[in-house]
Symmetry: C2
Subunit: 257 residues, 2 copies
Amino acid sequence: MLVEGVHFRKGASLEAVGWKGMAVNISDIAAMGGVPRHAVVSMGLPKKSPHAAAQRLSLGLRRCAKRFGVNWVGGDTVQSRGVVLDVAILGEVEPKRLIKRTGARPGDLLLVTGRLGGAVRSGRHLTFTPRVAEGRVLGAQTKLHAMIDISDGLLTDCARLCSASRVGAILETGCIPRHRGAGLKSALCGGEDFELLMAVAESEAGPLLRWAKQNLKSGLTCVGHVVARRPGQGQVVCVDTKGKRPSIHCRGFQHFK
Amino acid sequence: MLVEGVHFRKGASLEAVGWKGMAVNISDIAAMGGVPRHAVVSMGLPKKSPHAAAQRLSLGLRRCAKRFGVNWVGGDTVQSRGVVLDVAILGEVEPKRLIKRTGARPGDLLLVTGRLGGAVRSGRHLTFTPRVAEGRVLGAQTKLHAMIDISDGLLTDCARLCSASRVGAILETGCIPRHRGAGLKSALCGGEDFELLMAVAESEAGPLLRWAKQNLKSGLTCVGHVVARRPGQGQVVCVDTKGKRPSIHCRGFQHFK
């Protein structure tokens, strides 16, 4: 659910908001190894010029739906104070190719598609391409133990994956692929990247990374590994190339403080 | 999508709002002859005491989901100015038992479950029971040509059914079953009744009404019939017992004026 004044400012391009509303949902399907199929869309529109707002939102929604083969099958349109957009999506995946957050095992390597950081500053958070194709082809190449899309920052979403799998993780800060101009903190904590983070058996990771180098346009990078969970310690620990813990403090995006 | 200040006033029982958010969706499934199965729920919550609001909404949502065997499988929780609730639901129906809005034919009789009018004044609009069982058993008894749930008033939703079926309708105002204390205008235009309106072949309507008298607790009443569409004339015409057109002017609920 995207809310004016919270997720985008009043006056933002509603076409971009429409694209994003569809794309964040498609990204969730991509993170499970699936293909997005059908979407329902609810719009809350301001009393003043609701039709113009609906049209702009619809442009972006339709463009994104078309790009990813999604049928926009229905929804609701109501009055609200600011613009509110909510999309629900149904995806399909072969049972054998379903990837959950729960399967990461100690010893797995953690791989990430694309580059991280600076999404909001650069405007990429409104125009990003969900990694459906990447999720599909990587899942077809190798058994992925667990996967999640990075919506709230690498640290936060890595912790979510670890929590679901009851494991811990060590991220190597020197390895994290960053967008040009993005600092380490932004790459770790900025959020809204919508890249995929996955856990793969160590023996499979080498061949997969080599395959990706030839075939995966977005790129694929090893950023750390999964460890057994140690009670009382942080679920995700960042280390630099000397094995020292750099002092990174961030909590990802907190919906409620 | 239910929005504070538009669909319910600030300070309303959020448990009731939760029930309604789930129930209006279940009602849409009922109107197609289906069974509701899975729901995703998005909540926009105020910065101030979001957890309390989420808990109250969840109570109502869960109660309604449980009552109708719906799995609440996921959703989203975000910050917003006032409370916003959006539910998307997936239902199932045997292909042969799917009922659309498009199949009404001239000569069909129009039947309605339950009683109409006064829903908002009485508070029934927040506590109503979606007619899933009625939709199922009526569809099993007889081939229903078309069906719709009455959310925006009998006149408005009858016009929607007629428009989808490319036909017209004549409603007999003297036949419309009303709640105690509800006037004719409220029964025709009040909305939020969430009863089912269906079109049935005339030959089937008699047996169905007799069956319903014995077996359908909500009741079932003939309120009019379907006619061929006459270009340039209103899609739905109301007549009183003398065949005169009573002067009823309402437009149902207009989301945007």
